[in-house]
């Protein structure tokens, strides 16, 4: 049983001030579907997902409940969106190269997007090139729909993902 956290001293980045979105004019079609863009995806992912670095080590009290944004695991420019085609690609950077949390982070990102985006969206999730020791293997697993579906039928894993997506201590 490992007694130390994987990344005991994560670098915390300042939370970015949210850009004010312009309100559409009254003359605009009130039934128009609002296009989804980069910032919106980033907002969906960063503000709400908290990362418990200690969860995998089976420690009860979370010590590092920082958001993915604060840990710079995802940044706004690492999100590619094409609303016309209904496509999103998220590139994330695990905090350490051997981070076994990479697949959990990827799964959290996928579940959050699944719950937030219209069903027509195609989503690709990958680790930033050069950021992980077994990058190709992690990417393959995160983008295998059948493997993701089976993983999400595992109650323990679903509980962990749900906890990351809406932490109970808030």
């Amino acid at each position: 049983m490992v007694s130390e956290l994987i990344n005991a001293n994560p670098v915390i980045y300042e939370r970015k001030e949210r850009r004010v979105r312009s309100v559409p004019s009254a003359a605009a079609d009130e039934y128009a579907v609002e296009a989804i863009d980069q910032q919106e995806i980033f907002d969906i992912l960063s503000v709400r997902i908290y990362l418990y670095l200690c969860i995998l080590l089976d420690i009860k009290d979370p010590e590092h409940p920082y958001s993915l944004e604060e840990l710079k695991v995802i940044t706004e420019d690492a999100i590619e969106v094409d609303d016309g085609c209904g496509y999103v690609r998220v590139t994330f950077t695990p905090t350490v190269e051997h981070c076994s949390m990479a697949t959990v982070i990827g799964l959290c990102l996928r579940v959050k997007l699944l719950r937030s985006l219209p069903s027509r969206y195609k989503v690709d999730i990958r680790v930033a090139p050069g950021s992980h020791a077994t990058e190709a293997a992690v990417n393959k697993q995160l983008n295998d729909k059948e493997r993701v579906a089976a993983a999400l039928e595992n109650p323990g894993l679903v509980d962990m993902v749900d906890e990351c997506l809406s932490p109970s201590y808030e």
């Binding site: 069903s119 195609k122 393959k140 295998d144 493997r147 579906a149 089976a150 039928e153």
Partner: protein, 347 residues
């Protein structure tokens, strides 16, 4: 063969409450006045049986097979007689159902896989079954009287999750395809149920560069098509003239079809009249035929696109299957929870 010009949408079947992973036509239907019927399986843990109404031609759900599998039902396969249905599930079991006067009863449960079972297939005579799963193994089962099933062999060799298994239509060979990017061919050594891998089709043989999701044989069994996460379809052939002493004719790559789908191709099915249908995560269904326009300078057959149907479903297509019977009827299953029935027509 008359050229197909249009893919006509016949009906959209709703009912499943989660994605539909797979479907299988009952081979004993669509002939001798017996209405066409098929089974579909889903993430909602159930299997549905659908049948065409002979007077109205519309499709109805005749049965829901539930309260048996405790997780996603990933794939299903009818025995050649159409009397038994095998269903493979993420709950690590394969259930065998018998049709008793319109009601389906679970008569056996095949256990042994360590985790999710992904595919099941019967041999041509119905005397044996094969299953495969995430535990990287392929299991071979014997069907005994009284709905008893015995495992006769566990085939190890794949280094990753095995996605699909298919019994060859005429030869005693099992083909499996995997997350390890290969297709493996397994043969039985005499009557000993001593199965071994006799060939691996990998990148070195012009094989796929990512997960191979499905494979399908042509009617005569001398060609097969595979589809992959690498976005290509590959055609393979076996030349009996090259058969070795132990009776196995090796398979070789004939043709690669690329640039037709831009996301993972999950399913492929070769029809009896030589039309290959593919279904992918780009929501499209495409059809391919052998290219007879070639000028004879190319070594071996080549294939061309016959027809395409973009946005066939609103989400990923997981399975495409040609029906038995005379007409060019195709069924497709999707993440959108629906099944669509199509007809490929000449006009």
């Amino acid at each position: 063969m008359e050229l197909a010009k249009e893919l006509r949408e016949i009906q959209t079947l709703e009912g499943h409450t989660d994605r539909v992973w797979s479907l299988a036509w009952n081979p004993a239907t669509g002939v001798a006045g017996i209405p066409l019927s098929f089974a579909s399986c889903s993430g909602d843990k159930t299997v549905r049986i659908w049948e065409q109404n002979p007077s109205t031609s519309s499709w109805d759900c005749k049965a829901v097979l539930d309260e048996t599998h405790t997780r996603t039902v990933r794939s299903c396969a009818w025995s050649p007689s159409g009397k038994l249905l095998a269903t493979a599930s993420f709950d690590a079991t394969t259930a065998i159902w018998e049709n008793v006067g319109g009601d389906y009863e679970c008569v056996a449960s095949l256990e042994g896989h360590e985790n999710e079972v992904k595919s099941v297939c019967w041999n041509a005579s119905g005397s044996m079954l094969t299953t495969c799963g995430r535990d990287k193994t392929v299991w071979v089962w014997e069907a005994l009287p009284g709905n008893e099933f015995d495992c006769v062999s566990v085939l190890q060799g794949h280094t990753q999750d095995v996605k699909m298994v298919q019994w060859h239509p005429t030869r005693n060979l099992i083909f499996s395809c995997s997350y390890d990017n290969t297709v493996k061919i397994w043969a039985d050594d005499g009557d000993d149920d001593d199965w071994a891998c006799v060939q691996t089709l990998g990148e070195a043989n012009n094989g796929h560069s990512s997960t191979v999701w499905a494979l399908s044989f042509n009617a005569s069994g001398d060609k097969m098509v595979t589809c992959s996460d690498d976005l290509t379809l590959k055609i393979w052939g076996s030349d009996d003239a090259k058969m070795s002493a132990d009776g196995f004719a090796p398979w070789r790559h004939l043709c690669t079809l690329s640039g037709y789908h831009d996301r993972t191709i999950f399913s492929v099915h070769w029809s009896r009249d030589n039309i290959i249908a593919s279904g992918a995560a780009d929501d499209a269904i495409k059809f391919f035929v052998e290219n007879n326009d070639q000028d004879g300078l190319v070594d071996g057959p080549s294939y061309k696109l016959l027809l395409r149907k973009e946005n066939a479903h609103e989400m990923d297509i997981n399975s495409v299957q040609w029906s038995p019977g005379e007409d060019r009827v195709l069924a497709s299953a999707s993440d959108d929870g629906t099944i669509k029935i199509w007809e490929l027509t000449s006009e």
